[in-house]
């Protein structure tokens, strides 16, 4: 432990973090701090103390294959090794916040914040990622699909710490796109990720702000998989439009100050069609 005070702990191992959290009722786990500090300032959250994950070296490692520590930063996700193994993850990390924010914002924080518009979440869905969770009771591994229960609410048990995200390495096209209200520093009004698995001949999408939680659509994935000519990799415009229609029908997007539900529904169809046509090697549009 680098620092231990009644309301603050700076552990160096996950076990120390779990113990420090148990000893400090009402304390909040803080990774990069890029969400927690503004939340406290604008009184969207309260805390009786901090247990910081910032100085646990074991959470900041990248293991080829691909296991990403929960403390891996967005800036780290942009680096070539991650970009080669999980291109869509690197793309989504590159449009998260600003360079200064990406230096501190973590993969784990993005996941545990559990908001449907967070950049990395549609990608983790499309990649079929799993999460490693540690507590005093031991370790468990769960699919990311289903981990977000409601906006801001993750299926973490009391006292549990997200330690790693396992991302299967797929061969095939991947991409991430998002639409915002302006061209710089924007939060996703809607977003979408696509992962093509040429080994299993399967296409899988993930959508952001398409429902109360990050969303996957089995029907759209099946149609997209069928729309690919697996001998050439090509996708027809009609096939992509059929997928877009399934996406428009399948989503249940929120309505707020940024956009209407109708706009989001339309835009999600456009993003799905665009991603699938890109996957098929078509000119960008």
């Amino acid at each position: 432990m680098l620092l231990a005070a009644p309301r603050f702990a700076l552990p160096e191992t996950v076990a120390e973090a779990v113990a420090a959290l148990a000893e400090r009722p009402g304390a909040v786990l803080v990774a990069g701090g890029t969400e927690v500090l503004p939340d406290l300032l604008w009184r969207r959250r309260s805390a009786a103390g901090f247990v910081s994950l910032r100085r646990i070296p074991g959470l900041r490692t990248v293991v080829p294959g691909l296991t990403l520590g929960s403390g891996v930063t967005a800036a780290r996700l942009q680096r070539p090794d991650v970009a080669a193994a999980a291109p869509a993850l690197a793309r989504s990390a590159a449009s998260l916040g600003t360079p200064q924010v990406r230096a501190e914002a973590t993969l784990g924080g993005n996941v545990v914040s559990a908001l449907p518009y967070r950049n990395l979440l549609p990608v983790l869905l499309a990649l079929d990622a799993t999460l490693v969770l540690a507590s005093a009771a031991g370790e468990r591994e769960v699919p990311f699909d289903g981990f977000v229960l409601a906006p801001g609410q993750a299926a973490l048990r009391p006292g549990e710490v997200l330690t790693a995200v396992r991302v299967p390495v797929r061969t095939g096209f991947q991409d991430y796109v998002k639409v915002g209200r302006r061209n710089a520093q924007y939060v996703a009004t809607v977003s979408a990720a696509v992962v093509v698995d040429t080994a299993e001949r399967r296409v899988r999408f993930g959508f952001g702000n398409a429902a109360a939680t990050p969303l996957r659509l089995d029907e759209a994935d099946r149609a997209a998989t069928a729309a690919v000519d697996w001998s050439t990799g090509a996708v027809t415009l009609d096939g992509a439009e059929a997928v877009a229609e399934l996406v428009r029908r399948g989503v249940d997007p929120p309505e707020d100050d940024a956009a209407t539900a109708a706009y989001r529904r339309h835009a999600l169809g456009v993003l799905a069609r665009r991603l699938l046509l890109r996957a098929g090697g078509a000119d960008d549009r």
Binding site: L2, A5, P6, L37, L41, S52, P99, E104
Partner: protein, 166 residues
């Protein structure tokens, strides 16, 4: 305020070691400005958009430009923090980036300048020969409400050109 609110730790700021005693939830920016009197980093948006609070944080063998308003200061215990004050020479002479900002008229109200100069300095260390797009990308996290971006970008490009011809 009860006794259990406090945390004590060391921070080195612009080369000078400090023993800090602060509340557990204070940001690095608050500690720098309110506890240590280091006034280069500014409070702007307080949520990671404007970059007025940008500092260079060297911690556990890694170094990066970061928003000091977003980091709990105690999490950076033992860190080496550099602000705009570390860029000038000890005798008060400005750095070449700072000189270029003045020459180009890249300073209007000045609120964003400390952050801008640090992001620009960091870019030129990583990439001595940046394109205009590289400069714009490096300054993406620094907002200027006077919209002096044209002259700011010119100042960074001018510094790079001058260093190449040196």
């Amino acid at each position: 305020m009860t006794d259990d609110e406090w945390v004590s730790y060391e921070l080195t700021v612009d080369g000078k070691p400090h023993q800090v005693t602060a509340r557990w939830d204070e940001s690095l920016l608050t500690v720098l400005r309110e506890r240590l009197g280091v006034r280069g980093p500014k409070l702007g948006c307080a949520h990671g958009r404007c970059g007025a609070c940008t500092v260079t944080l060297a911690l556990d063998g890694e170094s990066a430009l970061t928003c000091s308003c977003l980091l709990p200061a105690a999490a950076a215990a033992g860190a080496d923090v550099s602000t705009v004050a570390s860029l000038a020479a000890g005798d008060g002479a400005l750095s070449d980036v700072q000189d270029a900002f003045l020459e180009a008229g890249a300073v209007q109200c000045g609120y964003c300048t400390a952050g801008m100069v640090q992001s620009a300095t960091g870019l030129l260390e990583r990439n001595p020969d940046p394109t205009r797009d590289d400069v714009v990308a490096a300054l993406y996290g620094n907002l200027c409400r006077c919209t002096g971006y044209g002259r700011i970008v010119e100042a960074v490009l001018a510094t790079a050109a001058r260093r190449r011809n040196r």
